[in-house]
Amino acid sequence: MTAALRIAARSAWVNFQEVAVSGFLLFAVVWQPLFVGVTTMYMLRHRADFDPMYVVVGTALSGIWSTLLFAGSGAISHERWTGTLELLAASPASFFVVIGGKLAGTTIFSLGSLVLAFGIGAVLFGYPVKIAEPGLLALSLVFAAVALWATGVFFAPLAILWRTVGVFLLVFEYPVFALSGFLFPVLLLPNWIVPITNLLPPYWAAVAMHGAASGDLDTPGLIRAWFFLFLTGGVLLFIAHRLFDEVLTRARRAGTLALS
């Protein structure tokens, strides 16, 4: 267990150093949320019920989500491209732990979106940063990050089997953004979609973080959101864990670990 944690921690640090200088992920963490945040502020600020914290939290979530989706779907492709995928697969360390650790590094990096989102609200637009429940928001952020990390880990093994799957997974970015209510309430969506949103960890992340930031959600409601965050994230993580061994064996059979 300690060895696995050490491997995960080292993998996280290695990946953090890699993504910190990756232009694409910097775009996902900085420029994309900046664009989303500023545009939404301009769109909504004249409404009577405008809540800047809602935009700040939603912008942060969109940055975290995009970064993890890109990183989760691209993690394996990147390792394959750099020729390290075979080295990782042929090492005695658990592949699940290694990739999970790497995506943990990306998750920590993606939290930069939150800082940026607060900056947009407070500095660019001059709104006071008023968090109703700072402690609960911090906890919600940690739980949300864990669940979104699990979503990224869930996507990763698919790219072991199919070299181009990363590109296809990118189409999930906007639908999940819309279905999860990052910046617009899911109540605006048709009723039949709501059960689908409830299956997504990003939806529960948005419920918990918006609820804690605005104080609109009572404690039982918040605990319920945390519970579903762990439940949906845990289910994805469980499936991913099973998938890793299975797809690795299939990839060794199909010969898809290398570029060619």
């Binding site: 290695v14 890699e18 200088v21 390290t84 075979e86 990782l88 697969a89 042929a90 060794r252």
Partner: protein
């Protein structure tokens, strides 16, 4: 098997097929046979070479033995462990280097790359730093260890690869064309390290395109072609296959294909290899009649086209050409 009597590596009738797709609108799946019933054994402590043309199955063999590919049929084992069933155990005991510059984290320093792989290979935490320094010293990178790998030369990257694979003190090493693309000094340095590891008792499987390298380093060599072993023995055994031959080298200018065919058809010619050197070509002609072949060969080529002529003993490369029938 040489050296220890125990078999460190065993392949039995290993077949490995790959599927590939052709066509755009109407797609067809084609099966390619990379290994076609390949069998061989390597003894513990042996330095074993695998030679063969491109696509012969050398890298596929290494990938099967390093657990990266599952054989379509047949069995393969390393130190008595099955590479499919006991893959995790096998991984703890082996190290491998694939030729080329990829396979490193370029944005990390050489030292950080080694620390990471030490962690993956379960090197004891208190041992990691000393082991990393020891290996950086061995491969001559101690002074450059803190620099990012992206600034390393090709030779430095190859040496870092070698250091990486030695972190957990593997008992069996697989080196797939480790000197490919290196300058002569870098390649010689890498060969010196490989020899040193061999003297230290490691079992090493080496694939290479450089026949002098195999001749210099290997205890035994398997020549592989079309996924099968076509010859197996010590470098001297393989050379003995061509002891009846001499090689006449003719430097020629602007020779055409029909002329080459005419030379090839001569009764005393065993094989002809054409090597292009800028504007010149060098015909390497294997023959049993040595000097006596020179005059009829010059006549066949047309005297005006011939530059330098040399006759020499057959080498391992000539044995290889005789076995495989071509050079790349």
């Amino acid at each position: 098997m040489l050296r220890g009597s125990v078999g460190a590596i065993e392949l039995r009738d290993v077949r490995r097929l790959f599927r590939t797709t052709t066509g755009t609108l109407r797609r067809h799946t084609k099966e390619i046979v990379a290994l076609d019933g390949l069998s061989l054994e390597v003894g513990e402590g042996e330095l074993f070479g695998i030679l063969g043309p491109n696509g012969a199955g050398k890298t596929t063999t290494i990938k099967v033995l390093t657990t990266l590919l599952i054989p379509t049929s047949g069995t393969a084992s390393v130190l008595g462990l099955d590479v499919v069933r006991d893959a995790k155990e096998v991984r703890r005991k082996i190290g491998f280097v694939f030729g080329g510059e990829r396979g490193l984290y370029y944005r990390l320093s050489g030292r950080d790359n080694l620390r990471y792989f030490a962690e993956l290979y379960a090197v004891a935490p208190r041992e990691i730093n000393s082991r990393v320094e020891e290996l950086l010293e061995l491969v001559g990178l101690r002074d450059r260890g803190d620099e990012r790998v992206e600034g390393y030369s090709r030779g430095m990257k190859q040496r870092l690869h070698l250091a990486r694979t030695l972190l957990h003190r593997p008992r069996v090493l697989f080196l797939d064309e480790p000197t490919i693309g290196l300058d002569p000094i870098g390649a010689r340095e890498l060969r010196r390290i490989v020899s040193q590891l061999h003297e230290g008792g490691a079992t090493i499987v080496l694939t290479t395109h450089y026949l002098f390298e195999a001749d210099e380093l290997c205890d035994r060599i398997a020549v592989v072609d079309k996924g099968r072993v076509v010859a197996l023995g010590t470098p001297d055994d393989l050379k003995a296959n061509v002891s009846d031959l001499s090689v006449v080298e003719l430097e020629v200018f602007g020779i055409d294909a029909p002329t080459i065919e005419r030379v090839r058809a001569l009764e005393f010619v065993d094989s002809v290899v054409v090597e292009q050197r800028e504007l010149r070509q060098v015909l390497r002609i294997q023959t049993r009649i040595a000097e006596r072949a020179v005059a009829p060969l010059i006549a066949a080529v047309a005297a005006g086209q011939v530059g330098r002529v040399a006759v020499r003993e057959a080498t391992l490369e000539d044995a290889y050409v005789r076995l495989v029938g071509r050079v790349e």
